[in-house]
């Protein structure tokens, strides 16, 4: 029973974090039709930026009000999004629209390669540690279980971000415009929608979510260059399970993967990576397009 609780709570925490990262991936795919292989690198850059921002915050005398470090983390993520989002979308990806899906995957793979080294050049290869924000909120006790409160902050952020994106897309006028673009790019252009701007903003939002995921993780881990390579693999699994481009799908997928991973960590640690992909393979065998994807008619 205790074990089950451990698995559930761990899975929830892990899933929440995964959801934030995967949401960006699925949004970018849903709107721009790009499967962004560089998403993991953006996540890592977010983590680095947050680590630097928090470091700078404390160096500038933030000790007096340590909670400000949370703001520093978010600002770091926004910074990354505002620089890299427009740079990548406007400077690079825009030139490849209309080409095959797979070509765009390869383009982002090229971006991934570039960013991986850019990170090493900027931040070096020695791991960074910024654990202050992690312990700031103290611990929570659930009967026999102890958790760091920060973990629940991640869950709260995930819920907030998920609901926020869902609300904007489905309940506001701007969101409707985005949905129209998803539905038919050309038609919305003829109707006077500035499709280029929608793409730019959506991509930047995707970058922000990746960077935010990284920023939230930064205090929990040692930030090193290789963290992005692994994350992208997990986020892919989540997004594919849920159905590419679906927010609900990403949430369910993240929960699936989170709990599967937590279960495997507690019960059979050898199979950690294996289990995640097993879940994905099983889902795909029964629902080839993912859980929440409508089957699309093939064009002749």
């Amino acid at each position: 029973m205790e074990l089950l609780a451990y698995i559930l709570v761990d899975g929830l925490i892990y899933g929440a974090w995964l959801f934030i990262v995967s949401l960006g991936l699925t949004l970018v795919f849903g709107i721009l039709n790009i499967l962004n292989m560089a998403h993991g690198s953006l996540y890592a850059i977010g983590a680095y930026a947050a680590a630097s921002a928090v470091g700078a915050y404390f160096a500038l005398g933030g000790e007096a009000f340590p909670f400000g470090s949370y703001a520093a983390m978010v600002i770091g993520a926004i910074f990354v999004a505002l620089i890299l989002g427009p740079l990548l979308e406007y400077g690079l990806l825009r030139h490849f629209y209309g080409r095959d899906h797979v070509i765009l995957v390869l383009v982002t793979y090229g971006v991934f390669l570039i960013l991986e080294d850019a990170m090493k050049l900027i931040w070096g290869v020695t791991p960074l540690f910024v654990s202050e924000p992690y312990s700031l909120l103290g611990n929570v006790e659930f009967g026999p279980l102890y958790y760091v409160t920060y973990d629940f902050l991640v869950i709260a952020v995930a819920i907030l971000v998920g609901l926020g994106v869902w609300f904007v897309l489905n309940r506001t006028k701007r969101g409707k415009v985005v949905l129209a673009v998803i539905h038919d790019r050309e038609m919305s252009k003829t109707m006077g929608v500035n499709v280029d701007r929608v793409f730019l903003i959506s991509f930047t939002l995707g970058v922000f979510l990746a960077a935010l995921g990284g920023a939230l993780t930064a205090p929990m881990i040692s930030v090193s260059p290789s963290i992005g390579v692994n994350v992208i693999i997990l986020a892919f699994a989540v997004v594919i399970i849920g159905g590419l481009g679906s927010i609900e799908g990403a949430a369910i997928g993240a929960l699936f993967v989170g709990i599967a991973r937590a279960a495997s960590v507690h019960l059979l640690p050898e199979a950690e990576l294996f289990v995640i992909y097993l879940v994905m393979a099983i889902v795909l065998v029964f629902r080839p397009e993912g859980l929440f994807q409508k089957t699309q008619a093939r064009k002749i």
């Binding site: 499967l35 690079l92 030139h95 490849f96 080409r99 095959d100 899906h101 797979v102 070509i103 995957v105 390869l106 383009v107 793979y109 090229g110 971006v111 991934f112 390669l113 570039i114 991986e116 080294d117 850019a118 090493k120 050049l121 290869v125 390579v229 693999i233 892919f236 699994a237 594919i240 590419l244 640690p269 050898e270 199979a271 950690e272 990576l273 294996f274 992909y277 097993l278 994905m280 393979a281 795909l284 065998v285 080839p288 397009e289 093939r298 002749i300």
Partner: protein, 319 residues
């Protein structure tokens, strides 16, 4: 003149290519021979990616077969003591062939990104399993003893040279076979699938069967490549199946395009040279140069550098 450079007859072209490779091999210094052996063995894997690319499918997990080939031969060398390269290759072919026969028909239902991601996940499953299995060496992998050649036990330069010769023979033979496949009905159907698979279905061919067959051909190429790489390095580890390894094969495939088979091996050699030199001179930015190179190729040569080498110069169709 072009007829002489690109002979129409495949056996003739193969014989020529082999002759050139052997002569070049005799004068190559040791380091370059090792580099060429590695490049050719990885080129085999990339050739598999190219086979699939002709049908419009990108396999981001060809490292799966690279790894299976390498481990099959490596394990047999440790457990049973087989060190003959011909036997090891056969084992690699059988092992990767069996796995491909199981997964090929399953994967043949998926297209585009789903195909890419599923192949990727399969290779990552293998990676995850291998790194956690201490019986198989875990993340450290295992050592492969020096290969022998039908009872011949070369050492030093002779070993490198023999392995190089073997590799050349393998790529020429397999390259010739794949070329024959490309020019055959089946190979042409692959191209048609890329254009429009529904029409191919309506014409009475099973697209799934075609793709599954191509997948198996690709997998076997990957398996052999893995065997040779393992034997050349003398070590195999789970990194063979990691997704960035597979990414490099895709890189070579994109670089070379799907028109010319020699271009695949040439592309692989270029990559290995770039890697060796950048590792030496700018160890921290070689991935970056690779990425920039990839973007330039995609932007300027949508059909790969191989389109420059291709012998069939068809006029561009207006889309």
């Amino acid at each position: 003149m072009t007829e002489f450079i690109f002979p129409r007859s495949i056996p003739l072209a193969c014989a020529l290519a082999l002759a050139v490779l052997v002569v070049v091999g005799l004068i190559l210094p040791d380091w370059a021979m090792f580099l060429a052996t590695m490049a050719f063995s990885k080129g085999m894997v990339a050739l598999g990616v190219v086979c699939l690319m002709r049908s419009g499918l990108v396999s981001f997990g060809q490292g799966l077969y690279y790894c299976i080939g390498a481990y099959a031969s490596g394990l047999m060398a440790t457990w049973i003591g087989i060190s003959d390269i011909f036997l090891m290759s056969l084992l690699g072919i059988i092992a990767s062939g069996i796995v491909a026969v199981i997964f090929g028909p399953l994967l043949a239902t998926y297209r585009g990104i789903f195909f890419a991601m599923l192949t990727l996940s399969l290779s990552m499953i293998l990676y995850g399993t291998l790194s956690k299995m201490s019986v198989l060496g875990g993340t450290d992998g295992l050592n492969v003893s020096a290969p022998t050649f039908l009872g011949y036990h070369p050492e030093g330069r002779a070993l490198g040279l023999s392995l190089y010769m073997f590799t050349c023979a393998v790529i020429v033979v397999y390259g010739g076979l794949v070329r024959t496949l490309f020019d055959s009905e089946r190979g042409l159907i692959s191209l048609a699938i890329r254009d429009n698979e529904l029409r191919v279905e309506y014409l009475g061919t099973s697209v799934r069967t075609e793709i599954a067959v191509t997948y198996i051909v690709a997998a076997i190429a990957g398996g052999i490549g893995g065997v040779i790489s393992g034997a050349a390095i003398g070590h195999v580890d789970p990194e063979y199946a990691y997704w960035t390894t597979s990414g490099e094969f895709v890189f070579v495939a994109i670089l070379s395009g799907y028109f010319s088979i020699p271009a695949v091996f040439l592309g692989s050699v270029v990559l290995e040279i770039v890697r060796s030199f950048s590792n030496l001179y700018f160890p921290n930015t070689w991935q970056m140069s690779l990425g920039i190179f990839l973007l330039i190729v995609i932007l300027l040569f949508p059909k790969g550098l191989g389109s420059l080498l291709s012998r069939s110069k068809k006029p561009e169709k207006k889309q």
